[in-house]
Amino acid sequence: MEAWFALLVGIFFTVAVYLLLSKYIIRVLLGVAILGNAVNLLIFAGGRLTRGVPPVIAGDQDAIVGPAANALPQALILTAIVISFSFFAFLLVLAWRAYEALQTDNTDEMRVAEPKDEPAPPLGY
């Protein structure tokens, strides 16, 4: 099961990196969304995947018997999902504002902060 998940996570990362390398903000945004899910799946699979085995420790024992999924990575993912969702929401609005203000979603043309043809600095004084 984990091996299949590892493959799936790999596909997610591949797609995310491919999209992140694009020049267009909208594709980068999709890449960010997929990257967040790739990480969540990675941590989920890292905590062992078992079906129908509750991680309950019997009263007379100190540790769990047999393989059971670790609940902690799932708690970590809950935190990470909330965070990545809120970041995605912020970046979505930011990208929209950037499109409105700069009239482009091509990062090559987003040169307002670093203009291409700046006047040369004074050469003497």
């Binding site: 992140l20 990480v39 941590i43 935190t79 700046e118 600095p121």
Partner: protein
């Protein structure tokens, strides 16, 4: 639940049973204080006249708390507090050692300077947009990152400070800011996601997130766990946060766009959080792998220094030049991390503290210069010396400090780093450090000549009668005096920094503080 049927469990093995000593509450207080004041300011969002005094008093309170915390750590070694009374490694631990306390104190001083400057820089509309709540929440994130003893918790604080910084960087919504914020936002998000990926792998290999527990187990796992992969990913993620060479381009693209005070706070706080995390993880948690990677880190550091300072030399905008100088300073710190040992790590910590103070002061000074000369650009900025000789003197001192010239704070960490590099035979690294200092002197000297000494050409130039308010000049002066004081009397800080570096290299006191009864 199950306790009613089974015999009562022995809680002493899992919980902290004795109440927390009142002095130990100081560990969590900086974060709680900032969050409380931030929440208060959010509740008072319609009373924007109240925001500045509450925030400045809150930041002054934060400085006091951090001074008390540093004193406590100096007196009794690392201090640990665990959340919910769960014993580590299960409970989330806040552990403060000398390094964390020093960084937290410097950050609060920087924030107080920024808060004071904001009285002159942030207008009503900025207050209505929530500058002060964002500032307090940013400080909560920064303090939390410096004080936490849990690696996932560190990630959460990174996100807290990142989302607050997003709010600050778009404050004003100008076209330039939106452009800068897009690059800042996306690349920082990728960096924190890399950090999260690494944390996932770390938990999968170690089964723990507590830093002390990781430091203890790292040696035993070196044969089976992919520690080299973890370290390389950590270095990449934190290097990206700190703007180290191959991944530094977001910083000069965005740091000159927001309000001056926001740039100043970012330059003083955000990259240094990345540096702190890098030092904490590579030096304390994975020292063997840091040694293996040291050549890569040294190369990245040397290239960061050179790219930063050459970039600064090419700029004709005051704030863009400062952005490149921030990058160059990060390179010096990386050189210290690569060299290692008490000299290298101590020098790196000292340089980071110096850089926090001086880069913030320089950004604030660029704001004052723009008020006096009505421009950030070298083409029109001129005659500042004639307009305000006192401010020109302060700027010159800061220029000396950032170049690493005596008698200012930049001199001693540079000496430590060069000496440490020579001691291990890395003469090329020492040469790059010295060359960078020399080039930085040229950068700042060129700016001083053109912006301060050059006379205003007749018929142009800003308003000659422009005055600067005390709120704008006071933080610059205070930080400059601090840099001068550290430069003139470095012994106390030097010894504290060396102790901090020793505490990272040999973390037995840190481990004892987290696991007082030895190994569980």
């Amino acid at each position: 639940m199950a306790a009613t049927t089974s015999p009562p469990a022995d809680l002493s093995a899992a919980l902290v049973l004795e109440p927390v000593a009142s002095a130990d509450w100081l560990v969590i207080l900086p974060v709680a204080w900032c969050l409380a004041i931030g929440a208060l300011l959010v509740m008072l969002r319609r009373k924007i006249d109240w925001h500045p005094p509450i925030a400045v008093l809150g930041l002054a309170g934060l400085v006091v708390i951090d001074i008390l915390l540093l004193r406590h750590v100096l007196a009794s070694g690392p201090v640990t507090m665990v959340m919910g009374r769960w014993l580590p490694p299960f409970g989330i631990a806040f552990t403060v050692d000398l390094t964390g306390a020093l960084f937290a104190l410097t950050a609060s001083v920087v924030a107080l300077a920024g808060g004071t400057y904001s009285l002159a820089d942030i207008n009503d509309s900025g207050r209505r947009y929530g500058f002060y709540p964002f500032l307090m929440l940013l400080m909560a994130g920064v303090s939390g990152a410096f004080l936490t003893g849990d690696i996932f918790n560190l990630y959460v604080w990174f996100e807290v400070l990142l989302i607050s910084s997003f709010g600050l960087i778009v404050l004003g919504s100008e076209r330039e800011q939106i452009d800068g914020a897009v690059k800042y936002g996306f690349l920082n998000l990728v960096a924190t996601t890399l950090f999260l990926i690494t944390t996932g792998y770390l938990y999968a290999s170690f089964g723990t997130l507590n830093m002390a527990d990781i430091a203890r187990k790292a040696e035993g796992l070196s044969g089976t766990a992919p520690l080299m992969t973890l370290t390389a990913l950590f270095v990449l993620a934190f290097g990206m946060k700190a703007a180290a060479f191959p991944v530094n381009f977001w910083l000069p693209a965005s740091y000159h766009t927001p309000r001056v005070v926001v740039s100043a706070l970012f330059a003083g706080l955000l990259t240094k959080v990345g540096i702190y995390a890098l030092i904490r993880v590579t030096v304390m948690l994975l020292p063997v792998e840091r040694e293996e990677l040291s050549f890569v880190i040294a190369l990245a550091g040397a290239l960061t220094m050179l790219v930063g300072v050459l970039g600064a030399l090419a700029q004709s905008d005051f704030r863009r030049m400062l952005g490149y100088l921030v990058v160059s300073g990060i390179g010096s710190i990386l050189a210290g991390v690569a060299v290692g040992g008490p000299g290298g790590i101590g020098g790196a910590i000292f340089y980071a503290l110096h850089s926090m103070l001086v880069m913030t002061a320089l950004y604030l000074a660029s704001g004052v210069a723009a008020r006096l000369g009505d421009s950030f650009s070298l083409s029109s900025l001129a005659g500042l010396y004639r307009r305000h000789a006192g401010f020109a003197a302060l700027s010159l001192m800061l220029a000396f400090a950032v170049s690493g010239l005596p008698p200012f704070s930049g001199f001693w960490p540079k000496v430590m780093l060069v000496k440490a590099a020579l001691d291990i035979g890395a003469w090329w690294l020492a040469a790059v450090l010295l060359l960078t200092g020399f080039l930085t002197t040229i950068v700042t000297g060129r700016f001083f000549l053109l912006a301060y000494w050059r006379d205003v050409a007749s018929g142009e130039g800003g308003p000659a009668s422009a005055t600067v308010s005390v709120a704008a000049l006071l933080p610059v002066a205070a930080l400059t005096v601090l840099a001068l004081a550290i430069g003139l009397y470095p012994e106390p800080l030097l010894s504290v920094v060396q102790n901090a570096a020793a505490g990272l290299a040999e973390p037995s006191a840190y481990l004892n503080s987290v696991f007082p009864g030895g190994a569980p």
